[in-house]
């Protein structure tokens, strides 16, 4: 176990300490000036920078919207695929396609061949209602990013919820049916409580991934137009690899860690409860 632990500490914990160290320095790789200690100046700068506030806001909007919609759709589709239907196996295979496709590849396909105002297939389908040349990505950039992320994460949520539905106690459902429970009542009072831990697990894992989303934004909007789709990871990319401002980028890094930790502490606690419930079975 020790080698693995040392490895993880070396590649994640030590750099984080360095991140904190860099964050109190003025250091730009593009300038010849040596790094110098400036205290909390970087933090004051980023907290007063409206573009950082926009990036934080965009991160929150993207994460909450994408997670909420993909969870809702995932539950609905899982319930649908759990019914007596033809070709369950094939349907599940088709459904997980979006999750497995390389995100960069999918993002480019969405931009160039599906939502393209000139040649896009979605635009072609929407021609009858007058949206044939509508530029979705430019006119509704955030909604477009959310849509692509929802397309990618709904299958993930569906898989987890489907596993939950399949582990449900069939006898309880049959007993309820005999007692004359209506389908909607059964879903609300029996199925939903039973699959709740699965929904929570999906939502938590999903938000931890989506909060970091970068690929789709890089490939479709490059954070624009303006700063409409710049989230924290993309902002960090701009500061670190376009401006090469090591001090500032590190300060953003520390800020991102603090924000994530607030979410993650809560998330991990729930995760452990789920594992313990699982272990008691």
């Amino acid at each position: 176990m020790l080698p693995a632990l040392i490895y993880v500490i070396l590649v994640t914990q030590l750099p984080f300490v360095l991140t904190i160290f860099y964050s109190v320095q003025s250091w730009n790789l593009l300038s010849l000036a040596p790094a110098r200690f400036i205290g909390l100046q970087n933090y004051l700068d980023i907290l007063n920078d409206p573009s950082i506030r926009i990036a934080i806001w965009n991160t929150i909007v993207l994460t909450i919207c994408a997670v909420a919609i993909s969870v809702a759709l995932g539950v609905a589709i899982a319930v649908l695929l759990n019914r007596e239907i033809f070709g369950k196996g094939i349907l599940r295979t088709l459904m997980i396609g979006p999750f497995l496709v390389m995100p960069t590849a999918a993002a480019l396909m969405w931009k160039d061949t599906l939502l393209n105002p000139l040649t896009g297939f979605v635009n072609y389908l929407l021609t009858p209602i007058g949206l044939g040349t509508f530029d979705f990505i430019n006119r509704f950039p955030m909604a477009s990013i959310v849509a692509i992320e929802v397309w990618r994460w709904t299958p993930f949520m569906m898989l987890i919820v489907l596993a939950g539905l399949q582990s449900q106690n069939q006898e309880v459902l049959e007993a309820a049916e005999v007692d004359g429970a209506r389908p909607l009542q059964m879903f609300r009072y029996i199925t939903l409580p039973a699959i709740r831990p699965f929904i929570e697990l999906g939502a938590l894992l999903g938000s931890l991934f989506i909060v970091q989303s970068f690929d789709t934004i890089f490939m479709t909007t490059q954070g624009g137009p303006g700063e409409a789709t710049t989230n924290l990871p993309f902002k960090l990319y701009l500061e670190a690899f376009q401006a090469f401002d090591i001090g500032r980028a590190s300060a953003i890094g520390v800020l991102a860690v603090i924000l994530t930790m607030i979410v993650a502490t809560f998330a991990l606690r729930t995760l452990f409860t789920i594992f313990q419930v699982e272990a008691r079975r």
Binding site: L91, G97, Q212, E278
Partner: protein, 281 residues
């Protein structure tokens, strides 16, 4: 119940099954369509791929695929394969003993170690990005595939340990006990008894490593430029290539997505368990 009533009820059940099946197929096709469209566009000529309205019926041609393969795509694919295989191997070499020490021969504070490990997976990359970049620059590891191998190992190791551990916990206790009574050393116990019994766990771990390493973009785009660039980086070249390259773009996107798509489809059962770190079976 009369024969007639029985028949109508059966008729109703069949009708409902047909109705729900139709809805499920519609939903699955909507979700799968972008994946299908990507593959179809890659089998068209450039003129067909950019036509208005979109070309739906056509004679497939392999010319776009041949063109991207005969030009500069293969080195990118080879880099992806090296980064993926290298990091997967490292995850197994480091992860198997660690999982063993956290399940079959649990060390003290197992729960804390597990908690710590998984928290590193969900620490945002912002936490360690800048120092890792500076370090890679100073060690001349920028644009070197080793940098990606090391980083992808870090990304996948915590998931791998959790996942392998969940499989080890399922092993019958008597089996390991018997070996211990026979005087097997810890190393012997792990390599001769535990590892052969958890091959599905090793498969699930490899699948998750494959998905996250093969599709990874953020570190690839920032830590490599040409020599060590992986397949998503090849796709970046198409961002501004408006208009004339849709078939080649789609062909490259399809080829880049194929390994993960196929592996995920083949190992669907491992997929869900892997994505939830063993929590959902």
């Amino acid at each position: 119940m009369s024969v007639q009533a029985g028949r109508t009820q059966r008729g109703k059940a069949v009708a409902s099954k047909v109705g729900w099946s139709a809805l499920a197929w519609l939903v699955a096709i909507v979700f799968f369509f972008p994946v299908l469209w990507m593959a179809l566009e890659g089998l068209k000529t450039e003129v067909q791929a950019a036509s208005i309205p979109p070309t739906i019926l056509f004679t497939p041609t392999l010319s776009a695929i041949q063109e991207v393969l005969s030009r500069d795509f293969p080195p990118y694919l080879i880099n992806s394969a090296t980064a993926t295989l290298g990091s997967t191997l490292l995850v197994l070499v480091l992860g198997l003993p660690a999982a063993y020490a956290l399940s079959i021969r649990p060390v003290k504070r197992t729960r804390d170690v597990l908690f710590f490990l998984i928290s590193t997976r969900f620490l945002p990359f912002a936490a360690s990005l800048v120092p890792l970049y500076i370090l890679a620059r100073n060690l001349h590891l920028l644009d070197n595939i080793m940098a990606l191998v090391i980083i992808y190992t870090t990304i996948n190791l915590p998931l791998g340990i959790w996942l392998l551990r969940s499989f080890m916990l399922e092993l019958p206790h008597e089996l390991v006990e018997a070996a211990r009574v026979d005087g097997a050393s810890m190393r012997h116990e792990l390599t001769r008894i535990v590892i052969p019994l958890i091959t599905p766990g090793i498969a699930a771990t490899s699948l998750i490593c494959l998905i996250f390493s093969w599709n990874e973009f953020f570190y690839a785009v920032n830590f490599t430029s040409s020599i060590a660039a992986t397949s998503p980086i090849f796709l970046v070249g198409f961002i501004s290539g408006r208009g004339l390259f849709y078939a080649k773009l789609a062909a490259a996107a399809t080829l880049a997505s194929l390994p993960v798509l196929l592996a995920g489809w083949i190992a669907q059962k491992q997929l869900i368990r892997g994505l939830t770190m063993g929590a959902v079976k």
